[in-house]
């Protein structure tokens, strides 16, 4: 990499600063509003220095069982992620390895599941889950989110599996392993970065999803994103609680991404062949 001149360096840092400001401002507003006393919340210009208060956080957990909603979100997001990774990577492996002229059509068909607008299927889903008794359960959301997450996982993982040299699998088959063992011990570990990327996307999608969670859950399986919105009612908007809730919702996603990050390394198959 060539050295940057001083003026170029200044330019780069300036651009980075702008980007940072654009991305961090909402987070600053969320965090600062969540600890601002209500009377000064809409003061103009915004109060930069104030006595922080934890009232919004306390109210958040006492007015409604917000802990339970977070737990629901976690169950739904982790459940859907696990489900999607398991079935998605198996399907992707099949699509990557089976040599058949219609295999691309199968892959496209799987991708096409993501093409309909979610709002179009809310009512049918509602009827189906009501009839099957799954309405207002985390399982309903896990199923729905997986229909969106599996195609994504299949497409991502197919790319990673395509990169794993077949010679490695052939070597393992001669060494005495069957197909599933080869998949588990050889192919999947080498596609670990793909699993990490897929996991991040699946988790974030499921964690953030709003429409289905709003329509298909009540007090039992409500997720945190929907619960936060419940502080927005026709007679009052409790901004403090909304901001406190929003901040808490941000945390698991960040932790999850950081956890997956160690797998997001390149060149895992280096040195295997040639």
């Amino acid at each position: 990499m060539h050295q940057l001149t001083t003026s170029n360096k200044i330019l780069v840092y300036l651009l980075l600063a702008i980007v940072l400001i654009v991305f961090m401002t909402p987070i600053y507003i969320i965090v600062s509003s969540s600890i601002k006393p209500t009377p000064i919340m809409f003061q103009k210009p915004p109060a930069m220095l104030f006595e922080p208060t934890w009232d919004h956080y306390i109210n958040l957990f006492t007015a409604r069982p917000f802990g339970k909603f977070i737990l629901n979100s976690l169950i739904v997001a982790l459940g859907s992620t696990a489900f999607s990774l398991f079935f998605g990577s198996l399907a992707a492996y099949a699509i990557s390895r089976i040599r058949h002229k219609r295999m691309n059509d199968v892959a496209f068909w799987i991708l096409s599941m993501r093409m309909f607008p979610p709002i179009a299927v809310v009512v049918p889903y509602y009827i189906i889950f009501k009839a099957s008794g799954l309405l207002d359960t985390p399982l309903a959301l896990i199923i729905i989110y997986s229909t969106a997450n599996i195609p994504l996982t299949v497409w991502l993982m197919k790319g990673f599996f395509d990169e794993v040299p077949r010679a490695l699998e052939e070597a393992a088959s001669i060494d005495g392993y069957n197909l599933l063992q080869i998949f588990w011990y050889v192919t999947l570990p080498l596609a670990a970065p793909g699993l990490a990327v897929s996991a991040v996307f699946c988790f974030i999608f499921s964690w953030n999803e709003f429409i289905f969670a709003l329509m298909l859950t009540g007090s039992n399986a409500q997720t945190a994103t929907v619960a936060v919105m419940s502080f927005w009612s026709s007679d009052a908007v409790q901004w403090g609680r909304i901001m406190a809730g929003s901040f808490i919702i941000l945390i698991p996603g960040v932790i999850f991404v950081l956890t997956c990050q160690r797998w997001l390394v390149r060149g895992l198959t280096m040195g295997s062949v040639k």
């Binding site: 040299p165 010679a167 490695l168 052939e170 070597a171 393992a172 088959s173 001669i174 060494d175 005495g176 392993y177 069957n178 011990y185 050889v186 570990p189 080498l190 060149g267 895992l268 198959t269 280096m270 040195g271 295997s272 062949v273 040639k274």
Partner: protein
């Protein structure tokens, strides 16, 4: 140790047939080299023996048992791949352990085998390294070690030296030869390098376009090639081929004619179009025209150290001769040459088959 038999083995990919009903017997403990230019079906044949490719037709047996429908893992074979195929997420030790795990050995036995193999191949210092931290030659040895620990009945090598530099290639070639002497395991080895084939093989199988052209010991295929293809494929530089016609007890070519050696006389008919072959070292320079069979102009000389190669021209015919370097003539010199008639090979011009067959 196992024997291997191929009976009319055919391989098709869809409508395309790439191996056309080959027959091959490999005896217990034999070192067999499949040799041929790229695309001749040698690797496909090896992969069929390994079980990585289905046999489309015919019968494949290992150790007397038909294995057409037997999975690779149950064939008792181990394979060294051209690109080594080491598991990159495992250390050298783990690579070997992984190969042993399906055998369900006791822990002590696993350790013993790994240590023994590592010492044999000089891998003991490298056991904790990953494949990405090894040089090409080291990777090659690990690939061999991984195959070796399993003490298989049959060893399969798919161009194992093609990714190594020339010096290392010679060294590893020697090691493979020693290994075979020591272990006595049946080996099937694929290469397009005739030096590897000549030095290692008990038996060479020369393939072209999905057919076996000749099977025999290195000496047999060199001294008694069955056809023109084998004759020119084996030996470096390649055998000179001269088109000629049988005429009055001579092979008459363009500006060059040689008396027909006695052993060929009964096999040739007057007027028959043939190609005769002579290997470069069998072409001699002679001082006087007496006893010479032709006068040749030296176009280019290539100095090799001990020998020199001469590009000769006789009329429209080009020949390559190999002479001791100290007798190397100058370029553009005219020299008198002669052949040892006993070293002559004669092929039918049309079929390309040796007239001795």
């Amino acid at each position: 140790m196992s024997s291997i038999q191929l009976k009319s083995v055919v391989k098709r990919y869809g409508p395309v047939e790439v191996v056309h009903g080959i027959d091959l017997e490999i005896e217990k403990g034999e070192f067999v080299v499949l040799l041929g230019p790229s695309g001749c079906g040698k690797t496909t044949t090896l992969r069929m023996i390994a079980g990585l490719e289905d046999v489309s037709d015919g019968e494949m047996s290992i150790g007397g048992q038909v294995v057409n429908a037997v999975a690779p893992k149950d064939r008792g074979v181990a394979m060294v791949f051209q690109n080594y195929a080491l598991y990159p997420h495992m250390t050298v030790r783990q690579n070997m352990e992984f190969a042993l795990r399906p055998l369900k050995l006791e822990k002590g036995e696993v350790e013993r085998r790994i240590t023994e193999t590592a010492v044999l191949l000089g891998l003991d210092e490298l056991l904790a390294r990953r494949p990405s931290q090894l040089s090409g030659g080291q990777r090659q040895r690990v690939a061999m070690g991984r195959a070796l620990v399993r003490t298989p009945d049959v060893f399969l090598f798919d161009e194992p030296l093609s990714n190594l530099d020339a010096k290392l290639r010679t060294q590893v070639r020697l090691e493979i030869g020693k290994l075979h002497k020591r272990l006595g395991t049946t080996i099937v080895y694929v290469t397009h390098d005739q030096i590897e084939a000549m030095t290692l093989a008990d038996k060479i199988v020369i393939m072209r376009d999905g057919y076996i052209e000749q099977t025999g010991s290195p000496q047999e295929v060199y001294t008694r090639p069955r056809n023109r293809f084998v004759a020119t494929f084996i030996g470096s530089p390649a055998m000179n081929i001269v088109p000629a016609t049988v005429k009055d007890g001579e092979l008459a070519g363009d500006h060059i004619s040689v008396p027909i050696p006695d052993r060929f006389r009964s096999k040739l008919t007057e007027g028959q179009a043939v190609d005769f072959g002579i290997r470069p070292p069998e072409i001699e320079q002679v001082k006087s025209e007496n006893g010479a069979i032709a006068k040749a102009r030296v176009e280019v000389t290539e100095y090799l150290g001990n020998e020199a190669l001469l590009d000769l021209r006789i009329g429209s015919q080009e020949l390559i001769a190999e002479v001791p370097a100290n007798q190397c003539p100058g370029e553009d010199d005219e020299i008198n040459i002669r052949f040892n008639p006993e070293a002559l090979h004669i092929f039918d011009a049309q079929t390309g088959m040796s007239v001795e067959v």
